[in-house]
């Protein structure tokens, strides 16, 4: 092994035996694994943290991943120019990387409500800069340390290749992914997860410092670590960091696999917050009455009612006014049901069955027939929610409705004035649902309610309620004044019959929702996109051919990861539970790929081209499936696909490193190319191509990118 005992940092020969035992370079290698474990967990936690602070849509997710990968890339690049080769410096760096995530999360929570106005959702650019600034210190260091570790190891005289480093890092990433997704997320909140996943890195750093006999430094480090763990495991401290956003009256807080659940109580009012958004407050009579009575009063006879989400508060009491035989209530997150029940916010009674599962999955698999299906879901501004507003979904919903049964849901729109973008949104959904129902009626209440049925529909809700002798608090007195005939006519006439249909694999409404979001802030992403493209073109023009190959591979692998996440989401819906498994599959694939690449790296260019062709073939298979089949596919197929694709990517890293030559120390440039490509791929595929042009266009774009990189290698 390449331990160098005569390093000036190890001048004390008396300690040699101990140091040999510990083997300094081995410690550094273990610390790379530790950094991998920590970084994956911190990455997922950071995404969840930002989602809880800002709009929980794919734009935020993509921005976090984009900033993460880009700044990591910059960090990697910076290490190329950093000449100091010091184990002490490395140890300090590793320790800081171990401790920083907690500070980062606290900073996100603290600065969110000090920089922005409390309660405000900021727009695209403020979110982008906030994410960039607050995540940059950690991501820069994590990008820096990887190639820097190689420099330090080599400086100690040990042979260690970029490929081997890549493999080591992957081992850490995989361990971190598995630990977070399959164990920690089910049992711990964010602070504890950070502490547990940083443990290895912190311990190794401390051991390194001891080995270096830096006792003063060790004292400082030890005190910092003690404070770190004390804070991370102190529940009251974690709650205190949340009080900026939620106020001091938090009665329950937990991180479920689906997001952050917070329950606050102010005077007598409970408010449920899901991932930072207040989704329900007690005494919300208007919402309960509108969502229940508009559809149910249309039916002569009501037997079984299916309610998808929104069962808290007065909802069940309003449904029970129709004396249904039973109510099935589907709610995705068991943790939400548990908390709501614990605080008496969900008191269903004997006729109600609570089904903790994904609504679409339930509707797809159910053999029951319902008189009415009531969806009470957020706006379709995420892939997760858009699945409930597509042609495929409405088809499934119709299948489990009785003859002349009714489906209802609502979308945000202001009936006082319908903007162009909202007309597009309403029209797209209207045309989509109209494919399956003879009658679709829009009622412009507090939100715009869609009623879809083959039976007759009427907008005179109070009349229908009077006939059934049902009394209400809101509808009785306010309906005719707010939902005027003229407003009903106007909204129903505003529908454009030529607007696109919204489908699973061509989610037009997400595109419209993104436009609406940008309209709200009077901004456009065009500057951002143009700057980004300019910078990428500049970057690509500077890098070596092999680095371009890795750039395109990073782009493709993240693009494919987005495609898989999206397809999986559409088909199975339980993406939040499986996202860890999918990411882990991608990470797992890289490992054998890198091992194979390391073994066959002497084959050089041929090896690269083989991997390229393999990727193109895999992408074409995906395209054929999406275009012609779109059928249900066993989950394992997606996992295997991700594994295989990333294995081909993994092959390329050591081969490209070999071609450029280890002596030129290519790790920094290669890591940077891979990370920058991955960042660009995430943003381009996840945020732009899939929502704007659909999944097929995204695959075709990836095929073109890979064909281009193949040509670049062929021309070498």
């Amino acid at each position: 092994m390449g331990f160098v005992s005569d390093s000036p940092e190890f001048g004390n020969r008396n300690s040699e035996a101990f140091v040999v035992l510990m083997n300094l370079t081995n410690l550094i290698i273990i610390s790379i694994i530790g950094a991998g474990i920590s970084s994956i967990a911190v990455q997922i936690i950071t995404v969840r943290e930002f989602l809880s602070q800002f709009s929980g849509n794919e734009i935020t997710i993509s921005l976090v991943l984009f900033c993460w990968l880009m700044v990591s890339g910059l960090g990697s690049l910076a290490s190329k120019f950093f000449k100091k080769k010091s184990v002490t410096f490395y140890s300090i760096l590793a320790l800081i990387i171990g401790l920083l995530p907690l500070i980062q999360i606290i900073a996100i929570r603290f600065f969110r409500d000090t920089i922005f106005i409390h309660g405000e959702s900021p727009g695209f650019y403020p979110i982008f800069f906030f994410i960039l600034i607050l995540s940059a210190p950690y991501t820069f260091l994590i990008g820096f340390i990887l190639p820097y570790s190689l420099t330090v190891i080599r400086a100690k005289g040990r042979e260690f290749t970029s490929g081997a480093l890549y493999i080591t890092d992957n081992i850490g990433d995989i361990t971190g992914g598995i630990l977070f997704s399959f164990i920690l997320v089910y049992f711990f909140n964010h602070f504890k997860i950070i502490a547990l996943t940083s443990l290895l890195l912190i311990l190794i750093s401390l051991v390194l410092i001891i080995c270096l006999k830096r006792y003063l430094l060790f004292l400082v480090a030890f005190l910092s670590v003690t404070l770190f763990f004390a804070l991370a495991f102190e529940k009251r401290f974690e709650l205190w960091t949340l009080s900026n956003q939620y106020g001091p009256n938090i009665v329950n807080y937990q991180e479920s696999p689906y997001g952050r659940i917070v329950l606050t109580k102010e005077i007598e009012q409970y408010t449920f917050w899901e991932s930072g958004t207040p989704t329900f407050s007690t005494f919300n009579v208007i919402n309960s009455e509108e969502k229940v009575h508009y559809p149910l009063c249309q039916l002569d006879k009501i037997e079984d009612v299916l309610l998808v989400s929104g069962g808290m508060g007065e909802t069940f009491n309003e449904i029970l006014k129709y004396s249904p035989r039973r109510i099935d209530y589907v709610e995705l997150d068991p943790a939400l049901i548990k908390v709501a029940s614990q605080y008496g916010l969900l008191s269903p009674g004997g006729k109600v069955t609570i089904i903790p599962t994904d609504g679409r999955k339930y509707i797809t698999n159910s053999n029951k027939k319902y008189s009415a299906i009531i969806l009470d879901l957020p706006e379709p501004d995420t892939f997760q929610i858009n699945r409930f507003y597509t042609s495929e979904f409405f088809d499934k919903a119709k299948r489990i409705l009785k003859k002349d049964g009714i489906l209802s849901f609502s979308l945000i729109a202001n009936p006082t004035y319908l903007s162009e973008v909202r007309v597009k949104k309403l029209s797209s959904i209207f045309n989509t649902v109209k494919k399956y129902f003879h009658n679709v009626l829009l009622i412009p209440g507090e939100e715009v309610y869609f009623l879809a049925s083959d039976g007759k529909l009427t907008a005179d809700i109070p009349l229908k309620l009077r006939k059934r002798s049902i009394t209400t608090s809101y509808i009785d007195g306010f309906y005719y004044g707010n939902v005027t005939k003229e407003r009903i006519k106007s909204i129903n006439e505003s529908i454009n019959p030529d607007e696109f249909i919204n489908t699973d694999f061509h989610p037009r409404v997400i595109n419209i929702m993104f436009k609406e979001w940008f309209k709200k802030y009077g901004t456009s992403p065009n500057w951002f996109i143009a700057t980004l493209i300019g910078l990428l073109v500049f970057y690509v023009s500077l890098i070596k051919r092999e680095e371009y190959l890795l750039f395109s591979t990073g782009f493709a692998v993240m693009g494919v990861e987005m495609l898989i996440l999206f397809s999986f989401q559409v088909i199975y819906g339980c993406i939040y539970l499986k996202v860890g498994a999918i990411i882990t599959c991608f990470l797992l694939g890289l490992l054998p790929g890198a091992v194979l690449g390391n073994r066959w790296k002497k084959r050089g260019k041929d090896m690269l081209i083989m991997a390229e062709v393999g990727m193109i073939l895999l992408l074409m298979t995906y395209l054929i499936w999406v275009t012609f089949y779109q059928s249900m596919m066993p989950e394992i197929v997606f996992f295997l696909y991700g594994f295989t694709f990333s294995m081909l990517c993994g092959v390329q890293f050591p081969v490209a490193a070999e071609i450029i030559g280890e002596k030129k120390s290519p790790a920094a440039g290669l890591f940077a190319a891979d990370l920058v490509g991955a960042g660009a791929g995430t943003l381009a595929i996840g945020t732009l191509l899939i929502p704007l042009l659909g999944i097929q266009a995204a695959i075709i774009a990836l095929i073109f990118i890979k064909i281009a990189s193949t040509f670049v290698i062929l021309k070498r």
Binding site: S419, T484, Y521
Partner: protein, 390 residues
Amino acid sequence: MKRHISRKEFLKEMGLLSLLIAAEGHCLSPKNKGEEKADIRGHVFKNDAPKSLWKWSKEGFHYTTNGKDVQCMVCPNRCYLTPGDRSVCRSKINIGGKLYSLAYGNPCAVHIDPIEKKPLSHFYPATLVFSIAAAGCNFRCLNCQNWEISQRKPEEVHHHELFPADVVRITKEKNIPSIAYTYSEPISYYEYMYDTARLAREEGIKNVWVTNGYINKRPLEDLTKYLDAANVNLKSFDDDTYRRLNGGRLQPVLNTFKLLHEKGVWFEMTTLVVPGYIDKPEMIKRMCGWILKELGPDYPLHFLRFSPRYKLNRLPATPVKTLELLRDIAIKEGIHYVYLGNVPSHDAYNTYCHNCHKILIKRVGYNIAEFNINNGKCKFCKTPIPGRWS
């Protein structure tokens, strides 16, 4: 040669790191209290005016010019526009050294509403009001429910064509007693409102102004000649909150109340109770104290329940108990008529006589179940009830 980092160097590096963190913290830290306060007020849109006027343009009222630049004097923003600029409210432009309104005869929202929806509880109850709005607003409220018209330029919205005479004609044809200038901010389409109100008055139709009250004295004095009622938002009683949530200032709004009172225009006040901002009992007490001193106890005050919307969507709905508490405070302080809004079926929708406390108007939403006012007096104790009654 590998370089050894000395303890001194290490300490130096840590010191630098600390400085860096401190510097970052300083950059990110909230502004010191008392120094620069968060202010979301709008700005003039430089070189944003269309090249030429359109059909729905009208030379502005109340502006000054030096032949090249103009200054709009309608609202306290007092936008100074060089040629080609557009005002904060997005409706006024400088073309050729003259101020023009682009919101004249082109309402983007036209509806018929119950008068109670404005809300006005003491102004001809259970009547209808023809309601119009053109695009634009001189505020930037984070919780605006009509942001798609208030935060847009007149050219960006689709609109009807209804010039003042058309508005009056239709209102008359439909036999509706009043016209409301509402939804967005009517101050931004002042000229359109003023001309319509003047014609309406000639035809015996009443004019209702639903506003943030952010207007200068002279234009308001002119407008009051034709106004019959107003609902003015008193968004807060704290200047900092006005700047932070609305992009305006408190004092001009208070001046508006005083002038309306002085001119004898009937008005009601609306306060949206935003949790964490406008729910402090102490502030409400101060607010009521000012109202009693300057305006008297008779103008109704409406506390509305907030629900998350537009950009201010990360706050919970106002607890009903908070609204009740604030209502109790206002009544205790001496305001005679305090209502709650956005809480269906609440007793505070009803009107109670301030003298005998019996129900004067029992409301079921916008409908009236009981009406106990005769000739403007309480049917039970004969106390005159402030307001405008048929």
